[in-house]
């Protein structure tokens, strides 16, 4: 395709053709009150040289450290082949190509990804991915409201054990579209959502109930009982799940009697590096009956005129290039490159490999919690089993401890005091398969030492 510049003359000619005096006039439709004259929060422009240096310095701040932080993004081993293959020229594009069917390889890869995600979640259909886990949850809530025509309240129950960042993003994306997110409190002993906590909505119209498994505290929700409550009321169930954990846990499609209706979550654990918070990808899968309310791209398998296998985008009539403002979503795209990595990651590990990763996570987290819990002044906040992270409660504020640990090269966990002040001095700690026995020993020694010194002083 030739490079097509527009010169000053080209622009003048085009404006003249549509009878407009200047470029500014194209934006006359925007009310003056909405236009911003200046951006006070944005610093003055830097040169490319200055930006490169700034970014390098920032990146260096983020490098290294023995990582025990989870809280929604998880450090896993990524086989070298994953990104070696993903960054080949044939795959190296962020999106589905505009002439999608011309790129059969890309479409086949997305089709395989969708097949793997439906197998993992126990759902019938998956889309080609969304931005991230948080926006996937927001899209799932919007989808539930469209699909549940019998429910007029647009009330979505969201337990406080759902990732707080997801709750904020869902409010930002969907709050303005008439959805009402209501918070379900958790049990202070177990760190989970008790079915009794839902009793106050027994007589209310509820569109959907969100259930995160394992929840933000790493604990296991009683998904069967919670699903049963929602099904009894005729409310939809939105599962927010960690894909690695699904190698061991019941898939959302099998929760309770009848299972969840929509499953979504963060795909980052599947072969995508932590990388300072992104790019990641969200996944979204659902039952066949809801497919026309599902946002995003879907690749289908078909045969051509000669009977040969082929792949094509399907159900496009839901999408914005056809349905315009009435599309299932106008702020969704797929994260093609991240999905490529995830698909290769899952292919390399297979079901057995994924289960071994998950089992190693559980084992290492157990070891970590056992050791840290033996330090004086540290104990578990909640009883009950957990996946690869859980909450520890300290006898003193957590922030200074994390600073002291960071000085020794240890990223000790996620301080919960801002989002869950009622938990006191609480820290969310995580160990995946990447944390060895000696890593855990290093953390234990450092913490023990820091806590003891503080006591002596």
């Amino acid at each position: 395709m030739p490079f097509i510049p527009h010169t000053e003359d080209d622009i003048r000619e085009m404006l003249a053709a549509i009878g407009v005096a200047g470029l500014e006039q194209l934006f006359d439709e925007i009310p003056p009150g909405l236009k911003v004259e200046s951006l006070p929060g944005v610093p003055p422009a830097l040169t490319e040289m200055e930006v490169q240096r700034l970014m390098r310095e920032r990146a260096e701040l983020d490098s290294g450290g023995l990582n025990f932080i989870g809280a929604g993004a998880y450090e896993h081993h990524i086989p070298a082949a994953v990104w070696e293959i993903t960054t080949r020229g044939e795959f190296y594009s962020a999106y589905t190509p505009y002439q999608a069917e011309a790129s059969q390889g890309t479409l086949q890869l997305i089709y395989e990804y969708q097949s793997m995600m439906t197998a993992l979640t126990g759902m019938d259909v998956s889309n080609a991915s969304l931005y991230d886990g948080a926006s996937a949850m927001a899209e799932a809530a919007l989808m539930a409201v469209r699909a549940h025509r019998g429910s007029k309240s647009a009330r979505i129950l969201v337990p406080a054990t759902v990732n707080p960042a997801y709750r904020r993003v869902a409010q930002s994306i969907a709050g303005g579209q008439g959805l009402n997110f209501e918070l379900v409190p958790y049990c202070a002993e177990t760190g989970t959502t008790l079915p009794e906590a839902l009793a106050r909505w027994d007589d209310a119209d509820v569109t959907a109930l969100v259930i995160q498994q394992p929840n933000f505290f790493g604990a296991y929700e009683d998904v069967a009982a919670l699903t049963a409550w929602a099904r009894n009321k005729g409310a939809l169930v939105i599962a927010v799940v960690n894909p690695i954990s699904l190698a061991l846990l019941a898939p959302p499609g099998e929760w309770g009697e009848g299972g969840a209706d929509i499953a979504c979550g963060e795909g980052q654990p599947l072969g995508v590096p932590l990388s300072s918070g992104g790019p990641y990808f969200g996944f979204l899968a659902c039952r066949q009956a809801l497919v026309r309310q599902m946002p995003g791209r879907i690749v289908g398998r078909t045969v051509d005129l000669d009977g040969r296998d082929g792949f094509a985008l399907t159900l496009q009539a839901r999408e914005q290039h056809i349905r315009r403002s009435k599309a299932t979503s106008n702020i969704c795209t797929n994260q093609g490159l991240m999905v490529t990595a995830a698909t290769i990651y899952m292919s390399l590990l297979g079901a057995e490999g994924l289960a071994r990763v998950a089992a190693a996570c559980v084992r290492n987290a157990g070891e970590l919690v056992g050791q840290l819990g033996s330090v004086e002044g540290v104990r578990r906040a909640f009883a009950g089993p957990y996946f690869h992270e859980t909450v520890l409660r300290f006898d003193r504020p957590v922030a200074p401890l994390l600073e002291a640990l960071a000085e020794r090269g240890i990223l000790g966990g996620y301080d919960l005091s801002r989002e869950y002040p009622e938990l006191g001095h609480a820290l969310l700690v995580c160990a995946t398969e990447t944390r060895t026995a000696s890593d855990i020993e290093t953390y234990f020694q450092a913490l023990n030492d820091i806590m003891r010194r503080a006591r002596v002083a």
Partner: protein, 127 residues
């Protein structure tokens, strides 16, 4: 040339309507509309009990390449929707004025003057 039955009324947005013995109206899309859309793969019908305004989008017909709204020709209440379309959307292609009906509406008032008779509708789709 598409079929425009003389006994029906029409809208400019390609719905047809027929008054039934009980005073309600059966509504569908015209033969011309189904021909233009091509093979239909999905029809979203309105929930019975819903009140609609004249000109309000209340159903969606979807073909392989397009999805279009169906507008209520009258103000009133949806009293029935064609459940058969859920599994057989192609009824709309094969029998748009019969088995392919979409919904039944109990009107809240008189017909609006914007409705067309068969001649006027046939004229409107001539080119």
């Amino acid at each position: 040339m598409s079929n425009v039955p003389a006994e029906l009324k029409y809208t400019r947005s390609h719905e047809w309507l027929r008054q039934e013995a009980d005073g309600s109206y059966t509504v569908g899309i015209t033969d011309h509309a189904q021909g233009a859309l091509g093979d239909l793969v999905f029809v979203e019908t309105p929930e019975p009990g819903r009140s609609v305004k004249a000109g309000e989008a209340c159903a969606v017909v979807e073909s392989v390449k397009a999805a279009s709204d169906v507008y209520s020709p009258l103000a009133g209440e949806i009293v029935a929707a064609n459940e058969a379309l859920a599994s057989q959307p192609d009824l709309l292609n094969s029998d748009p004025y019969g088995e392919g009906w979409i919904m039944r509406i109990r009107p809240a008032g008189a017909e609006t003057s914007a409705l067309l008779d068969a001649n006027a509708y046939a004229e409107s789709i001539k080119d």
